[in-house]
Symmetry: C2
């Protein structure tokens, strides 16, 4: 496994793979890796000849009051984990390597599906994601790119952008990896106190209960209200509880597949989770 910190170095490392037309799989991350990330790499390993993982804490997707400075940087530990799951190349550029010294004038925005859910609380966040993902796609030029379904809205935004701009990349969404108690794995879980960590799995439990209730015929609005009440009662500060179609269109009732979305804070730590509920099954 190689680690490259420059665009030029990465290009050199990938040139023989490109010349021999090997398939390149790409997993963009911000590091501080957990089993959720490693499962993305394992998926990439299954279907691609060469697997590239980027580790880059992208400043432009953080708001002014968010945790850019304190976001954990754990490159050595990440490298060891990645070596074990068959990553071929780590791309770990500096901010200057990615954004250069000249002012960036170009922005990319995906409208509508970024307006609510996490977009409402994080203005500009998905624009920052769109730019860095586009830059990384242009640098790595992968055939396949792997994103976790935990950041479901991000995955939908990237799929939309790839479709709208004809990017020659297949975007693959990988199911959420959960702890044994059901908590969706997230780098931010490390911020939780012991007590909050014990409370956190209530989100998934509420989503699973909602799934059962929906399948038993309860009304969608009632089910969403129940999730909110459950979590509030357990000490969460609920940001949103919403239902959308898989492509993030609004839905009024459970007459098609829906995805249930929760964002809620425990102390200062904001957790998100989602569950797709199939209508047919």
């Amino acid at each position: 496994m190689k680690t490259e910190t420059t665009i030029q170095g990465l290009s050199a490392s990938l040139s023989s793979a490109r010349q021999s037309r090997k398939t390149i799989g790409f997993v963009p991350t911000m590091g501080n890796l957990h089993q959720g990330h490693l499962n993305l790499v394992r998926e990439a390993r299954k279907i691609c000849d060469v697997v590239v993982v980027s580790i880059f804490v992208n400043p432009i997707q953080f708001g002014p009051n968010e945790d850019f400075d304190s976001y954990p940087r754990t490159l050595e530990q990440d490298s060891n984990l990645l070596a074990d799951v068959g990553c071929d190349i780590i791309f770990a550029p500096s901010v200057e390597q990615m954004y250069g010294k000249n002012k960036r004038l170009t922005t990319i925005s995906v409208s509508e599906i970024t307006n609510d859910l996490c977009g409402a609380q994080r203005p500009g966040h998905f624009d920052g994601v769109a730019v860095v993902v586009t830059k990384l796609f242009n640098i790595v030029q992968p055939n396949f790119a792997f994103f976790g379904q935990k950041d479901y809205q991000q995955l939908a935004v990237i799929k939309q952008m790839v479709q709208d701009l004809n990017m020659p990349i297949e975007v693959i969404g990988v199911p959420i990896t959960r702890a044994e108690d059901g908590l969706a794995l997230s780098s931010r879980n490390g911020y939780l106190s012991e007590e909050h960590r014990a409370t956190a799995p209530a989100i998934y439990k509420a989503l699973k209960a909602a799934e059962t209730d929906l399948k038993n015929g309860q009304a969608l609005t009632d089910v969403l209200a129940q999730i909110r009440a459950d979590l509030t009662a357990q000490g969460f500060e609920v940001d949103y509880v919403e239902a959308r179609s898989p492509m993030l269109q609004t839905v009024e009732q459970f007459d098609q597949d829906v995805v249930l979305f929760v964002a809620a804070k425990l102390g200062k730590t904001r957790l998100i989770d989602n569950l797709q509920v199939s209508h047919s099954a």
Copy 2:
């Protein structure tokens, strides 16, 4: 020479070139080709193994009161011209092929350098250019892309976008092709009446006179005012006369290389031209 009208057909036509690592040169056009376009193709022919020319009148770069519907579509004549200058593949997609049936949610904007010159009169124009050029770049995946310096601001916007987004493409600006009387070639010249066509070369004459005046030490603001006065006296309705650095930063005086920009109407036809004046020579 092949003509492809679908993305899939183009990909199939280019696949053997890609597999054998041939260099692909790309010339995006809106058709109604003249010698200016053909010179872009000749430049591409010189340095690339495979030359692709797109012909696509892009609806999203036209304003509501602009000439999208009346823009000349002359594919058969264009094809004959392109065959003569060594084009390998024409890509002539429909609007539906390029934009699909689903609503596009993704926009690309380049700020600052799009605010004035042609950007001031054409809100959204350069956003439309940025999106279609990005789509075409992702479809064709060229090594080199060729744009005329006549649309100097467009060229600067594309260079900026390519740099900001790390697009793996070298953008080459090709000098303006002029008629014998100096008029910059443009598809829109065909809209001119005989009388206006006789007047039109005054733009280039005014730019050349300005170059001489600048080199003789006249102040930049006076020289710009003189161009405006000259053209107004000859019946032009002047939109702008401006000076910028080659990267489109504002300049106050002739203490570096400057580009002089003119946009002016004769009747309903809007003509643009520019001239780079070197400070050192």
